[in-house]
Each structure stands twice: as C-alpha cells, then as structure tokens.
C-alpha cells in the first residue's frame, strides 16, 4: 500500500492540489499532471474508476550535488508500453490511478498496481466528505483560497503515502481544534 501522489484537478486541467509522496523532479511532475488529466477526462460513467499505466523507473545517473531529498525511487511515467531497450532498465514499476469525479473536479490517487482499488476509491470519498464538512459544502474556490488548509486536511488523513486516519469524526474534531488555535 503506497500512494505515489494525490492530485486534484479541474476539467480544464488546472491543478488544485498536488501532494507527492515520491521523489519526482519538476519535469516529471508536470508530465504526470498532464498525463493524468489526459487519461482521466476522456472517461465517462461507463468506464471504471481505475486507469492502469505502465511506469518505468529509470536509474538516472544522478551525479548532482547531494540532494536534501535523497531520491527514493526516481521514476518516469510512460503510458504506452515501453518501447526501448529493456536491457538497460530491466526494472518496471507499475502504477495505477484511482480517481473519482465530483462536479468539475477530479480527485486522483496514484498507487501501486496491486493495491486495493476500492479501498482507495472510498478513501477519496471519505476525504471529500471531510472537505465538504470542513468547508461547509465545499466548492472548487474553497480549495483555491484555502490551499494551505487543504494540505492540513490531507496530512491528517494521509501521511507518508499511507492512510493515517479514516474516522471523519476524529479528523474534523482535530481540524476544528486546529482552527481554533491562533
């Protein structure tokens, strides 16, 4: 069980939240954001809420300055089947996207290919219900203007790529307590 990233995007592809649990460089992040948007927005209610892609980790020769973020697992996402040299990079890494659409927003969680789809699908819904309660009928603008609070909500519910707390009551109690602090 490991979440690679959580993305909230609107239909136009604007990112409303990006939470990364793995080390990606900026280009990779941008590419992922675009690709997730491309695959998710073409799907409709007859489709599943899951999209499997094949991501391929590449051992970048990183001879840069020692980075504060030791690369956990530099990965490159390739939606199509990898076409080139399987010799130089024999390791394949499989990801999948579990997503759910709420009005104009897509909530996407990227996990390991053998993770439990329905558990994450409902983790998204649980998260959305908490946001809804916290922001009182949440809408896209709430996420824009309170982006720094959304991070707090995320950290209460997901941490280190794992589900941290699932009780809505407990999460909201904690959020309201924090809200009351100066």
């Amino acid at each position: 069980m490991e979440i690679r990233f959580i993305l909230i995007q609107n239909r136009a592809g604007k990112t409303r939240l990006a939470k990364w649990y793995m080390q990606f460089d900026d280009d990779e992040k941008q590419k992922l954001i675009e690709e997730v948007h491309a695959v998710v927005t073409v799907r409709d209610a007859k489709h599943t809420n899951f999209v499997e892609g094949q991501a391929r980790s590449r051992d970048h020769e990183r001879n840069e300055e020692p980075n504060v973020l030791a690369p956990l697992c530099p990965a490159r996402w390739v939606w199509a089947y990898p076409v080139t040299d399987s010799l130089s990079a024999p390791q394949f890494r499989n990801f999948k996207i579990i997503y759910r659409r709420y009005a104009g927003l897509y909530f996407c969680i990227c996990v390991d290919v053998n993770d439990n789809n329905l558990a994450y699908l409902e983790a998204i819904h649980n998260f959305v219900e908490v946001l809804n309660e916290y922001f009182h009928n949440v809408c896209e603008l709430d996420l824009v203007f309170n982006f720094y609070k959304v991070y707090t909500v995320v950290d209460e519910m997901f941490l280190a790529g794992e589900i941290r707390e699932t009780s809505q009551t407990k999460v909201l109690k904690q959020l309201l307590m924090l809200q009351s602090l100066e």
Binding site: R43, E52, A70, L87, F92, L118, L121, R164, T169, K170
Partner: protein, 978 residues
Amino acid sequence: MPAVSKGDGMRGLAVFISDIRNCKSKEAEIKRINKELANIRSKFKGDKALDGYSKKKYVCKLLFIFLLGHDIDFGHMEAVNLLSSNKYTEKQIGYLFISVLVNSNSELIRLINNAIKNDLASRNPTFMCLALHCIANVGSREMGEAFAADIPRILVAGDSMDSVKQSAALCLLRLYKASPDLVPMGEWTARVVHLLNDQHMGVVTAAVSLITCLCKKNPDDFKTCISLAVSRLSRIVSSASTDLQDYTYYFVPAPWLSVKLLRLLQCYPPPEDAAVKGRLVECLETVLNKAQEPPKSKKVQHSNAKNAILFETISLIIHYDSEPNLLVRACNQLGQFLQHRETNLRYLALESMCTLASSEFSHEAVKTHIDTVINALKTERDVSVRQRAADLLYAMCDRSNAKQIVSEMLRYLETADYAIREEIVLKVAILAEKYAVDYSWYVDTILNLIRIAGDYVSEEVWYRVLQIVTNRDDVQGYAAKTVFEALQAPACHENMVKVGGYILGEFGNLIAGDPRSSPPVQFSLLHSKFHLCSVATRALLLSTYIKFINLFPETKATIQGVLRAGSQLRNADVELQQRAVEYLTLSSVASTDVLATVLEEMPPFPERESSILAKLKRKKGPGAASALDDGRRDPSSSDINGGVEPTPSTVSTPSPSADLLGLRAAPPPAAPQAPSGAGNLLVDVSSDGPVAQPSLGPTPEEAFLSELEPPAPESPMALLADPAPVADPGPEDIGLPIPEADELLNKFVCKNNGVLFENQLLQIGVKSEFRQNLGRMYLFYGNKTSVQFQNFTPTVVHPGDLQTQLAVQTKRVAAQVDGGAQVQQVLNIECLRDFLMPPLLSVRFRYGGAPQSLTLKLPVTINKFFQPTEMAAQDFFQRWKQLSLPQQEAQKIFKANHPMDAEVTKAKLLGFGSALLDNVDPNPENFVGAGIIQTKALQVGCLLRLEPNAQAQMYRLTLRTSKESVSRHLCELLAQQF
C-alpha cells in the same frame, strides 16, 4: 458544525489570489506576480522587523506563487523563522513552505532540524505532529540521521497522545523506506507489534502500515504480528455495523483497517498455530458470507467498502492457495460480479479471477465462466475491462477450451484497440501453439493472425511458425498448401509473403504435384509480390528462388533470368546485390549434387522456450500476472511448447542447444560431406560442424539459423524456468522434473558437493555427507536477483514407493529470500531399504509476483550408502563366484564419453563409494572394487569390475550384488560416469 469561511485569516492573501484569478492573460498574471514579489522582497529587506502575522502572510503568498509554477528564490529564511513561532498558524505555514519547497541549502537544514527538534521535545501534541508531518513529507536522509533514533521512542512512549503515535508511526515508515540503515531495530519493535492491540483504531491503522513495511525485511522479528492481526481482524469482521462508531463507514466496520490487516497477513504463509489459523479461516468465511447478505444501504459507498474487504480477502485466499473450499467460494463470488452492473466490479472480478485461474483448486471453477468472459470481451465499453477479459481468457485456457478461446480472440482482434493488438496477437500465437492438437489448426491460426493483424505480428510470431513447420513433417504439406492459397489474395500482408516464401522454398515440392500449384505457378505467384516488398523480404525471396532451383530444376532458367536482371545484379542495396550475384554463380557452377547438399532442407530447430512467450513476458514485465506462467494448471498438456519435437525443454539453462546457431545440437540427419569446389561460395564448409545451409533470411553469412532463433532472450523474465508441467494433479502438486534433472543428478553420483542447479534467478548448491545408512544434506538456495523471492517453499517428495525406502526430514526455510541472499536447508536422510528412484526436490516461489516452480532430482542415489570393503584377492574371487546367478550380475559395455584417464577413473570409483582393490585383477589396467550398501532393512554386498579398452575407447563394467535390482541400478548409474 462551524465551517471555514473563504480566505479567513489572511485578507491580503485572499486579495492577491483574487487578483491573480482576475488576470485576463498570462502576461497580466506574470506582471501581477512580479509586482507582488517586489513588494514581498522589500518587506523582507526593510528595516522594520515584520510581525509574525505579516511574515506568515508573505510566506504564504510566496508559496502560492510557487504552486502556480513560478520559481521562488527567497523567503526560505523567513519560513524557517516561522517554525520557531509559538503560534500554530504561523508554524503551520512555515512547515508547509519547507515541505513543499525544501532545497539543499545545508545551513537551512540545520536550522530546520533545530526547530523540529524543539517541537518534538515540546510535549505539545499539535506542534509534535507538525514536526512529524514535516519529517514524513520531506523524508530526507539528513532528517533521518537527525531523528531516526528519536521517533521510535515517541512512538512507543506511554504518554504520547494517540494522534502523535499515528504520525510517529508513519513518519518512521517514511524514514525507513528512505534509509532503512538509519532506523535501528530494537526493543521498540516488539512494542510496535503490540500497537495492533491499541484502543485507538487510528493508531492501529497507522501502525499496521509500519509493521507491514518492517516485516517484509525482518519477517521473523515481527512474526508475533500474525496472531495479533488475526484477532484484531476477527473482532472487526464479527462486529455489528454500528459497534465501531467513528470507524464505521456506511455501515461497514473499519473497512480500511480490515484491508490493511489482510494485506499484512499476505506477507506471511498461513499461520502455523492451528487456533490462529482456525480463527482466520473463520474470518475469511465470514467475509464471504457477508457478501451474500442483502446490502445495508443502497449507496455505492457501502458496497465499495464492503467489497474492498472482500477483494482483499480473496487476495489472501489466493496467496495461501491452500484452502480449496475457500478458493472455489471466492471464484463463485467473483462469478456473480462478472455480471454486476457496476463496471468497477466487473473489472476487478476479471482481474482477480485471473489469479484464481492459476490455482489448480479453482482453475476448473474459473473455466465455468467462459461464456460470460467472452461476452465481456465483445461488449464491454471500457477497453481496460476488455483487456482484463482477454487476460482472463488467456489464463483459463487449456486443451479443453483452446479452440473456442483462440477463435474468440481472433474475432476480437478484428476490432481490438490498437494499443493492445500486439499483445492479443502474442497471446493467440502462444495458445495456438501450446494447445495445438493438430498442427494444421495451428498453422491456420497463425495465418489468420497475419491476415487480420499483419502489422502486429512480430518477427517472433512468424519465426515461430516456421520453426514449428520445419520441425514437424506431418504439417509441412498442409502448411505449403495453405500459404499457397493465402498468397492468392490480391493484397496480402508482407508477413504472409515472408512466411509463404520460406515455406514454399522449403516444402513447395510437397504441393508441386498438383498442376494448380506447379513449380512455375508457385514461382510466379511469389514473384508477383516481389516488387511490392521491402528489402528484407526481397532478400528472403531470393533465397526461396535459389531453393527452388534445387527443388524444381525446371524453374532454373526463369530464376536465373530474374537473378541476372540488372535490377538484381546491380541493385543499390548491397544485400540484394550480393545475394543475386552469389545465388546466380552458385546455380551456374555447382553440380546438382552440390546444390542438393548446400540447399538441403533446413534441419530441425533445437527446442527451447518459445520466443513468443519470452516476448510476452518482456512486454508485461516481471510484475505480470501469473497468467503468463502457465503450465502447471493444465495437467493434460505435458509439453509446454506444444509438443514440438525433439525435446520440449522449457528451461533455458546453458545446454548444447543454447548454442546460438543450434547447429551442433541438431545436426541434420545425414551430415553430408562437403564436396570440394563449393567451399568458396557463400557456404562455410568448416570441418567440425555440419554443412551450413543458406538461410532464406536477410543475411546468409552471419546468421544461418539465428534469424529464426532470435538471440537468447534478454530480460531476466525471459530466462525464467517455466514451471514444470504437472505429472499428476494430485494433492502434492509437484511438477515433473526439468528435462536436465537426470543430467544434473548424474553429476552428483560420484561427488557430494557442488552446484546442483542454476538459472538466471536461482542457484542451488549441495553439500552432503553419508555414513552407514544415514546422510545429511545441506541445500543452499541463492537468490541471484535483486528482488525478494516470496512464498519460497522447497519441498522434498518421494514418488512411488520411495516413502517406504527412504526417509527424508526437512526443515522449513524462510518464506522470503531477499535479493542476493542465500538460505540454507538441512535434510536428514535415512535409507530404509534399497531404492531406485531419487527423491524429488520441488522449489516454488514467487518472483516479482509471478509464481515459479521447478522440480529437480535430489542427488541421493543408492550408492551414497556404500560402505567400502577392503578384501584380499582370494576373498574377492570367492565372493565373486558366490554371486554367480545370472540375475545377480549386471554388465554393460559402453563407449567412453570422457578421456580415458586412469587417475580420473579411480577418483570416480572412489567417489562412487566402493573400495578399490589392488592386485586382484591380473590385468593392471582393470579396476576392481567392493563395498556394502547399508540400508536399515538389509545390507547388499557389491562387487564391481571395470575393464577399460583404450584402443576401442570402450569400457566393460560388471556388477555383482546379492540383489538383482541393485546390480542393474548400480551398473546403470556407474556406466554414465565414464
């Protein structure tokens, strides 16, 4: 519940965000941002010290600007300053900025770590959590070095708040994943396991994740988690839908925690403790039962949460693969989902069933759903669901349904999405080959593939059909006739021309009797395609033509005309030109005999793993579903590669046939002597090998056969041993020994130590010692990959009567073998009575998710229990005479397979176990030995005599023992050693 109003707290921030949103163009946005950046910079540089609120506001604005995609090169210091504020809102923004925008400024890291340290020590749970979240979000090595030792303490401290424990557990998980070396295991590990019992379900939820991660590396240290997880799970599963209050989600008690617990259990084999196992099985049954109960809510959230647990339960049942009843129930449940109106459920059911298909307990149950799955392939709107259906059809395929499945997949191919066509082509090709009962069906199927999806038929596929046709003379005539007909189509795919060209060049003579496909007709048909084809195909056709000259002399003039044409002889392509020149010369100067020799039919190809299977595995990667590793689920198909003769070797170990050209391994039936005169042509008539023949492919010199024998598969997957086929689908489920098993066994008849087996994944070493009728053997299993083997289970099996003849006690080994690690297994062996068959060693494990299995013969042969006996010449002769009944003697005369060196022979005989007696045989060249086979029930005296004949390079071996079967068996064993 009071809600958060929009942008409360920081008005300036809200105004700025609104401004940005109101910008009509990108330029306007950049202008506004630059203005703001200048403003913030001047505030930060200004003389007036900023208050905490302003600092927070500006840092937050910088963060917003960064999140819009702009670079931020200042403000870090101000953010770090916020960390030491004692106001939550300021601290939170500081930590958020650090988490999102951290850089490698080491000065800053020191300051950040200092602030974190203070917060961790603050005893303020809110601040502690902020600090822990920051570490978990950043997870850098520097932070690991600074805090890895503190966090376990916070985690297990009695006075830590629940929320702090939750964060500490996951923070530790992150550090462990980033730098496992920094996290010391210690007395805290036991206490972490006991967090599974914690009152607070949130703490348990976080702790399970940590334990799941830690136990993968240290399964033994965390073994106690099994029973704790089972009892926790049992309490949840059996609770009523409202018992768990906060943790009940749409009437489902603690769905996420249940899923996590079920996944934790999948790190281990089934519980050994019967009570724990019983309780767990009860849980699994309860989950399956609940799936049948009417839903407590119509909401999709309810059914999703419930089914999340159900699917994870099924995963665990499949992981154990030991409870036939549960496996079949799981299959039935999934069968219901196949027709569910929720696309998600249909998709997941197909996916899960795919793994069920590879368990022999549930393979038959899966097969009953074939019609539904075929229907899914035809009607599902989501391509990923259709793909799953295709995967499942592939996984459930066996001899009984292969024709139906292949024809459905072919039909699907006509409309299949481009993205998955090649994979479908590979699957069809593999199934058609594997389950071909008659090869005409196989040929038809592959030609259909080329017709329907020629562009997606890779080289591997059409190479393979040529290999098979070449190796099976019963299908050659049919193949020739069929390709001839297929080539009649006005537009046929180039791959068809290639296959047709090759087959007619080899076997066109088989249909030449029919005037409708007489040689000139065949030639003009092929040649009518020539000009439309690529260089590679034209090169192949030129080879077909030269073969035609040999097969059909009457076409010689026409073909020479074609070769002589300027368009060939002066072709700009050097390959075509060379072929034209060489073939023309060959046809002109060589006698009919030479031509016949040089252009003889291709010899059979040495058999090895299907190159197509290798390709499919490469495509799928090591994470591929077990569906690719088949074989064991189809008891009726004992030869995996479709029974292509001569030997269905399914393991690519270095054997003679791994020789790239395969020439030496499979010499043509009659190795023709090369007539002088042809040697300077394109054929290399080297002295040591059989005459090479011109291939039909693009490069005659470099790759006579290699064209059709693609180079050894590259990816590690491709070299995997296929699971050995099943001998008898009995409860033991042990495959037949691999083809090399006898050869490997033979190596150990005269020695006790060495490498028993090795492939790309695994090395098995042996050390053994025997005394009297007892033996001890150490097996060393080395994981040669960098990936952990899971469910690693070596078992020793006694086929037939062996159980009454030999007792082998084994110790269990760890179920996980880390990459690069070696595990040792000790076997205690007792010989009860004489035996003929060695015990089998079956090794099964999962590598990268794919099940592997392998069966070898354990190097325990009857001669291991030899006790050497010294005796004088006269004693020897006396006993020799006593054992004079015809059935007591076994004799073999055989050719030497190794150089006849007396010292080596001596060493081998001693290794075999008998004493060597000097001065017994009047001929000093001969060897005489004596010994007693020690078994619990009886002793068998043995005398042996080995007479080498150096001139004839032959040996005569004579064995006399008191037991007929022993004489024969020893004689056979020993004869193979010289």
